[in-house]
Amino acid sequence: MSIIAVYNIKGGVGKTATSVNLSYLSARDGARTLLCDLDPQGSASYYFRIRSPKKYNTNKLLKGGKHVEDNIRGTDYIGLDLLPADFSYRNIDIALDDLKKAEQRLAKVLQPLLGEYDRIFLDCPPNLTLLAENIFYAADTILVPTIPTTLSVLSLKQLYKFLDKIGQKKKKALVFFSMVERRKKMHSDIMDSMAHNKGVLSSFIPYLADVERMGIYRQPVTAALPASPAAAAYAALWQDIQNQLE
C-alpha cells in the first residue's frame, strides 16, 4: 500500500504520461491501482476517455468518503481505476484555505481508499501551493520527472527547499530524467553530473513521438504499443522505482 505522487513545479515535463503509464504497469502486474487526476486540465482523464461526472467538483473531493468513491471510474484496463479531474480544481487552493488542518486534508481523503487499492498514483498540477503541501504530506514517494536542463535543475533545488520548509524529508523525492534527447550536449552533461546523486534514478524516458501520440489514440503507450521503445523505457523506469521502493 503506497501513494506515489508524480510532481514537478514546472509544467510540460511528462508528468501525465508518467502517471498514466506507470499506473497502467502497476495494475498490469496485479496491484489494484487508483490514479487520481488532480490537474484541472484533466489530461490523464482524457487519455483514459473518462469524463468528469456531472456533479463532481472540488468540494466533493475535499469532503472525501462516498463523495469520492462514487466518482471513481473503471478504466479500460482491469485493476486500474481513475478519479477524474474536474475543472473546478483550478480553485482548489482557495477551498483548502478555509479548512482546518488544511495541509492534511488530501491525506485524510485518500486514507480510506488504501483499503481498496494497493497503490494510488497522484497526477499533480504544476505549482508550489497549499495543494502541493497536501500532496507531499499524503505521498509516500514523490516522483519528479525532470528535463535535463539548467532551469529544471534549479527548480529541483526549489523543491528540496520547500520540502525542508514544510518538514518533509528530502528522500521522499525520487528524480528521473524525462523527455531526454541524448544528442543534446546539455542533456548529456547534466545527466552525467547528477548520475551519482542520491534520489536520482538511472532509468530515464527519452523524448519519443510515440509518447506524444498518446493524445491521439488515447491509451497508455505501454498498453497500445507494448513492443515500442517508449513502452520499454517506462517498463524499465517502473522496475527501477519498484527496486527503490523495496
Binding site: F48, R49, N71, D81
Partner: protein
C-alpha cells in the same frame, strides 16, 4: 476473472450479437477482444471430493487448474502432469497441488468427467468516447461425444458506469438467467451430458425415511438404494480405476446382507433366504481383490515398520502381491462382465417392487417401530458381548463383538433419518470409536494370519525367499506388538461406550 460473477445468462439459439446490440438502449458500439480457446477436461473423483470441498478441476494438455467452485477464482495451476483415465494424488508430487490433492483425494483417483472445446470471447461495450463501460463475456462449451453446445454470457461491470451496465442487462433479459458462477454452470452442464450431476454419489448411506411409512416400503427404499450403489460401482471395478469402487461395492453388499439378517419378518421368508445366499456369493467373489488391496494400500506403513536391511524382502513380497492382485482382478472383472451381477440386481429389484403374495408378519408395521426393535436388540447384544471381555479371554471374543457392532452400526445407519439428528449422530459416533478399536484389532489379526500363511507356503532355498521370510517375520513381530497395544486400549474404550450417559442415550432412542 477479478470479480465474482453472480448472474449468468444461458444464450439460446435465438441469440445473435447484432440483435443484442440493437436492443441496448443508448448509443453504444461493441469491440471484440481476442478469442481465447482451449480444450478442457473436467476431473473429479467418482464421489466428487473436489466439488464437495468447494473446488472445480480442469485440465488442458498437461496443465491442471484448480478453481474455487463458488467464485470461479483460480486457486492453483500446475504443469507437466499427463492426463489419464485415473490420476492419483501421487502424480502431483513435487507440484503445488500435491498437498491439497493428497489431503482431499486419499486413495481415490481423479477421473475425466467430460471434455469440451471451450471458447471465451470478451466484447467490450463502448460509449461514444469509445470508452469501455461494461464487458460482455460469452463462454461456449462444445461437449465431446454430443451435439450439445452451451453458451453462457455474463457481464463484468466497469466501476462508475452503472447505467450502462443496466442497459446491457436489460437487453439480455429475454434469456433465461441463473444466479451462479459460470464455472459451476459449466461443470453442471458437462456432468449432465454424461448423465451425472455434481454430488450425485457418496459412499455414505443416506436415506430419508418417513416414520409412519410401513416397514415393507421402507426396506424397499433401503435395498433399492443399496442395489443402485452396487450397480454404479461395477464399471469402476471392472476398469480398475481406484480401489474405492470395489470397496463401496462390497460395503453395499454387506449392508444388504446385514439388513436381510437384521430386519426380520418384513420381506417374505423365501425371498430373504434366496437373496441372502445370492449376496453372500457375490460378496465372496469380490473378497480376494479387496484383501490384496488392503495390503497394497498399506505398503508405506509396512515399510516404516522395518529396518533398511529387511526392505528388499518386503519389495519381493509386494511384487508377489501385485502379481496376485492382477490375476485376481482379471477373474473378478470377468465375473462382473458376465452380466450375472446385473441380472441378480434386476431380479432383486423386481422382488422388492412386486406385491408379496403372502406378506410377512411385520410388513405393515410402522418402520420406526421395527427400527427401534432391530437396533435395540443389537445394542443389548453388543453390551452383553462386550461386558464378558476380559484381558485373558481369547481373541475370537473380540472378533465376535466387532461383527455385532458392525450390525448395530448398519442398523442405525439404515434408520438414522427416523431419529432426532443430533442424538442419533452421537450414538453412531460413540459406536464408531468402539468399532475403530475393534477394527484395528481385527485388521492386525487378519494381516498376521495372511503373513503366516504366505510364510508357510514359501519354498526354502532361494535367496529372494530368504529375504522375504525375514521381512515377513519382522512384520509379524511388529504387528503382534501393535495388536497387543490395541487390545490393551479396548478396556477403556468399552468403558466409555457403556458409560451410564451413553446407555441412557441408547435407551431413550431405541427402547420400545
Amino acid at each position: 476473472m477479478l470479480e465474482k460473477v453472480t448472474e449468468v445468462w444461458n444464450l439460446t439459439e435465438e441469440y445473435s450479437l447484432e440483435a443484442l446490440v440493437e436492443k441496448i438502449e443508448g448509443t453504444f458500439s461493441l469491440q471484440q477482444d481476442e478469442e481465447y480457446k482451449k480444450h478442457v477436461t473436467w476431473y473429479d473423483t467418482y464421489d466428487w471430493r473436489l466439488y464437495e470441498q468447494g473446488y472445480v478441476c480442469l485440465a488442458t494438455g498437461s496443465s491442471w487448474s484448480l478453481y474455487s467452485r463458488d467464485s470461479g477464482v483460480l486457486v492453483k495451476q500446475v504443469k507437466g502432469v499427463p492426463q489419464k483415465k485415473a490420476v492419483f494424488a501421487s502424480a502431483f508430487v513435487g507440484t503445488d497441488l500435491t498437498t491439497i490433492f493428497t489431503k482431499l483425494l486419499e486413495v481415490r483417483a481423479l477421473l475425466p468427467l467430460q471434455t469440451a472445446q471451450y471458447t471465451l470471447v470478451t466484447h467490450r461495450v463502448l460509449n461514444k468516447d469509445e470508452k469501455t463501460v461494461v464487458r460482455f463475456i460469452v463462454e461456449q462449451y462444445a461437449f465431446e461425444g454430443t451435439e450439445e453446445v452451451r453458451q453462457l454470457a455474463y457481464l463484468m461491470p466497469v466501476r462508475g458506469y452503472r447505467d450502462e451496465y443496466q442497459a446491457v442487462r436489460q437487453a439480455l433479459a429475454p434469456f433465461p438467467s441463473q444466479s451462479s458462477c459460470p464455472l459451476l454452470i459449466g461443470l453442471e452442464a458437462a456432468a449432465a451430458t454424461t448423465g451425472r450431476h455434481p454430488g450425485d454419489y457418496s459412499s455414505k448411506f443416506n436415506l430419508s425415511l418417513d416414520p409412519d411409512q410401513v416397514a415393507r416400503s421402507a426396506v424397499t427404499s433401503i435395498y433399492t438404494q443399496l442395489a443402485e450403489t452396487m450397480r454404479v460401482n461395477v464399471p469402476g471395478v471392472i476398469a480398475d480405476l481406484d480401489s474405492e469402487f470395489l470397496h463401496d461395492l462390497r460395503v453395499a453388499i454387506r449392508r444388504t446382507r446385514s439388513g436381510l439378517t437384521l430386519i426380520k419378518k418384513v420381506l417374505p421368508e423365501e425371498v430373504v433366504a434366496r437373496f441372502k445366499a445370492e449376496f453372500k456369493k457375490l460378496g465372496s467373489v469380490t473378497g480376494p481383490v479387496r484383501d490384496l488391496d488392503v495390503y497394497l494400500l498399506s505398503e508405506e506403513k509396512y515399510r516404516k515398520r522395518l529396518p533398511a536391511c529387511l526392505q528388499p524382502g518386503l519389495t519381493t513380497f509386494f511384487t508377489t502381491l501385485q502379481q496376485e492382485r492382477q490375476r485376481q482382478q482379471k477373474l473378478l472383472a470377468r465375473e462382473l462382465k458376465s452380466g450375472r451381477v446385473e441380472s441378480l440386481l434386476v431380479t432383486w429389484e423386481k422382488h422388492l417392487q412386486q406385491e408379496d403374495k403372502e406378506p410377512a408378519q411385520y410388513a405393515d408395521n410402522p418402520i420406526v417401530d421395527v427400527a427401534r426393535k432391530v437396533i435395540y436388540r443389537r445394542y443389548k447384544r453388543v453390551m452383553k458381548d462386550g461386558q464378558v471381555i476380559t484381558p485373558g479371554c481369547p481373541d475370537e471374543k473380540l472378533h465376535e463383538l466387532r461383527i455385532e457392532g458392525k450390525k448395530l452400526r448398519y442398523a442405525m445407519e439404515f434408520f438414522r433419518s427416523l431419529f432426532p439428528k443430533e442424538e442419533i449422530e452421537t450414538a453412531i459416533k460413540q459406536l464408531k470409536t468402539l468399532q475403530n478399536n475393534l477394527g484395528d484389532f481385527n485388521d492386525l489379526s487378519v494381516q498376521r494370519e495372511m503373513l503366516l500363511h504366505t510364510l508357510e507356503k514359501l519354498k526354502p532355498g532361494s535367496r529372494k525367499n530368504q529375504e522375504m521370510a525375514a521381512a515377513l517375520g519382522g512384520l509379524m513381530a511388529s504387528l503382534a506388538h501393535e495388536q497387543q497395544m490395541v487390545r490393551t486400549g479396548f478396556e477403556e474404550i468399552f468403558r466409555a461406550f457403556s458409560h451410564p450417559d451413553n446407555v441412557g442415550l441408547y435407551n431413550r432412542l431405541f427402547k420400545g
